[in-house]
């Protein structure tokens, strides 16, 4: 069978044994992302300091491997970043999945670039990110 470069080891591993799954004892922010089309669901718990800098992130994901791996890699990647930085990474990821070309600095997240040939699955990878950005925006509004 055609081994799919989308389902690389890192995706499968993160989906099977996520490193950042669960809740946080002291989380300042929570968010939920739902994809009504497929029922995927991500609950995020994050510590964000008064300067808007993200501390720890934990996720509870019920969804496909792409969504679960994306949530786990995201949790790892955004630690220590502020909203502006998160948005830049998000934009780079969006470019990667649209074009299939990973922009410089995307790092491990470039595993999702092959999604450009599976367009109906792009939203699976983006769901945790949209939830996170909504959460940060809401925080700023308050």
């Amino acid at each position: 069978m055609a081994q799919d470069d989308l389902y690389r080891t890192v995706v499968l591993e993160r989906a099977k044994t996520p490193r950042h799954a669960g809740k946080l004892d002291i989380a300042s922010l929570h968010a939920q992302g739902v994809n009504p089309l497929c029922g995927d669901r991500v609950n995020l718990h994050a510590q964000v300091d008064t300067h808007g800098r993200i501390g720890q992130v934990r996720h509870e994901t019920r969804g496909c491997a792409i969504c679960a791996a994306s949530a786990d890699l995201m949790a790892e990647r955004v630690m220590g970043q502020d909203t502006a930085q998160v948005k830049r990474i998000h934009a780079a990821l969006a470019t990667a999945v649209e074009t299939g070309e990973a922009p410089d600095g995307l790092g491990e997240l470039s595993v999702f670039a092959p999604l450009h040939r599976h367009r109906s699955r792009i939203r699976c990878a983006m769901l945790p990110w949209s939830a996170l950005i909504d959460m940060l925006n809401d925080d700023k509004d308050r």
């Binding site: 069978m1 055609a2 799919d4 989308l6 389902y7 499968l12 099977k16 089309l37 497929c38 029922g39 995927d40 019920r62 969804g63 496909c64 491997a65 792409i66 040939r117 599976h118 699955r121 699976c124």
Partner: protein, 417 residues
């Protein structure tokens, strides 16, 4: 896999192999692999007979119908109206006037919900089942909002059959005006006992509508033998074009129903003060209809009839039995829906692998299956699932394709454990 392949090659599932040549799309490649199309329940592929009939119509014989006094229009009108006769015969209808052309099943059900629904009174009940497609659910919810009717639900049993005892109880207070139930589930493959449902509905003073979207392509339908009051089908699942569906209803019911959409062709006369309606079925066909698509549907029905439901049924039964067997051997795979009466639509889950990942990984191997809630969210909730993968078969499906599916699923599963 080897002896399954052999089994496949020798069993009845093979008898329609020659029809594959009629479907040009089947020789396409997907991600460099031969297309294995196992999503016919969502929409069937089109034989060249349908493609050609539509193209020929546009090339040699097209004009707007019903009001043209010239040859092109007269001939197009005849071709269009001839399909009404054909559909009437296909469904075993009592008269051609009982055939109303719509865009699809969804519009057909909405037509009934709006028009027949406007004759219902608050407190009357529309009774559906737990395994309805949204198309046979949301229109009744919207009618509930408009008219204050009650929407009642008959459950399915654990194996995915309609709970006939519960149906009886649901009918017992005599308030049910309409039973609207699928003739074949697009998720479970369950075929319901339409005749028994009709009898129970009629005994309780209710009318009955069957959603034949899935069934009509697999089994011969005879609306009179089923003693139905309404029956809907959709062209694109019948190897026909998109944009064309059919509502059949008993003539006396259609005559009593007010029109749904207003416009040209559905009127007898129009003045600002008052308009009067054309006879059935034209009363329900406002505006320029899907002329080319209706002619294409006629070609699709001719194609189906040329094969015959005996052979189609035998082919699909054999395929389904074969599929249930080989899929049952895939580790971790669980078939969802095991009612005794069932057709070639098989939903399944696979431990540890999300249906979406199954679909994507199958696609990388050229195999098209559907994954999701299949427009049946309440059923998914009943089953405690958020999604299933679904393989569904058509006249062009071969046992080898099913074997490929099973073998690839086994490999995918290996990937994830």
């Amino acid at each position: 896999m080897m002896d399954q392949m052999v089994t496949g090659k020798t069993d009845a599932g093979n008898s329609l192999r020659h029809v594959r040549a009629d479907f040009p799309i089947l020789s396409q490649k997907v991600h460099g692999k031969d297309l294995v199309f196992l999503d016919s329940a969502a929409s069937a592929q089109k034989p060249r007979q349908v493609i050609d009939s539509m193209a020929d119509t546009m090339r040699t014989q097209y004009a707007n119908i019903h009001r043209g006094l010239y040859w092109m229009s007269e001939r197009t009108t005849e071709a269009y109206e001839a399909v009404r006769d054909q559909v009437a015969a296909f469904l075993g209808a009592g008269a051609r006037e009982e055939i109303v052309f719509t865009r699809n099943s969804t519009e057909a059900i909405n037509l009934v919900a709006h028009s027949y629904g406007s004759l219902l009174r608050p407190g009357q009940v529309v009774l559906v089942s737990e395994m309805e497609h949204h198309a046979n659910l949301v229109p009744w919810q919207m009618l509930r909002e408009r008219m204050g009717i009650e929407l009642r639900v008959t459950p399915v049993t654990d194996d995915g059959a309609l709970d006939m005892d519960a149906l009886g109880r649901n009918l017992s207070d005599g308030r049910v005006a309409l039973v609207a139930i699928t003739h074949m589930s697009n998720v479970l493959g369950t075929i319901t006992d339409a005749r028994a449902i009709s009898d129970m509905a009629h005994a309780a003073g209710a009318k009955v509508l069957f959603d034949g979207s899935q069934l009509a392509v697999h089994r011969r339908v005879n609306v009179r033998e089923l003693d139905a009051d309404f029956y809907v089908v959709t062209g694109h699942k019948l190897y026909g074009p998109t944009g064309i569906g059919v509502l059949w209803a008993r003539r006396e019911i259609l005559e009593e129903m007010p029109p749904f959409l207003g416009g040209g062709d559905m009127i007898a006369s129009v003045s600002f003060e008052r308009s009067t309606w054309a006879h059935v079925p034209h009363k329900f066909e406002a505006g320029t209809p899907a002329i080319i698509e209706t002619i294409g549907l006629g070609a699709a029905l001719s194609y189906i009839e040329s094969i015959g439901f005996d052979r189609i049924g035998a082919h699909e039964d054999a395929l389904t039995a074969h599929a249930l067997k080989v899929l049952g051997q895939v580790s971790g795979l669980k078939v969802v829906g095991t009612a005794p009466q069932r057709g070639g639509v098989i939903s399944f889950t696979m431990a540890d692998v999300h249906p979406h990942d199954i679909a994507t990984l199958l696609d990388r191997n050229g195999i098209a299956v559907r994954a999701g809630h299949h427009c049946a969210e309440p059923l998914m909730r009943r089953l405690g699932l958020s999604a299933t993968a679904r393989a569904s078969f058509g006249i062009y499906t071969t046992p080898e394709e099913i074997d490929m599916l099973a073998a690839t699923l086994e490999q995918i599963r290996g990937f994830f454990v």
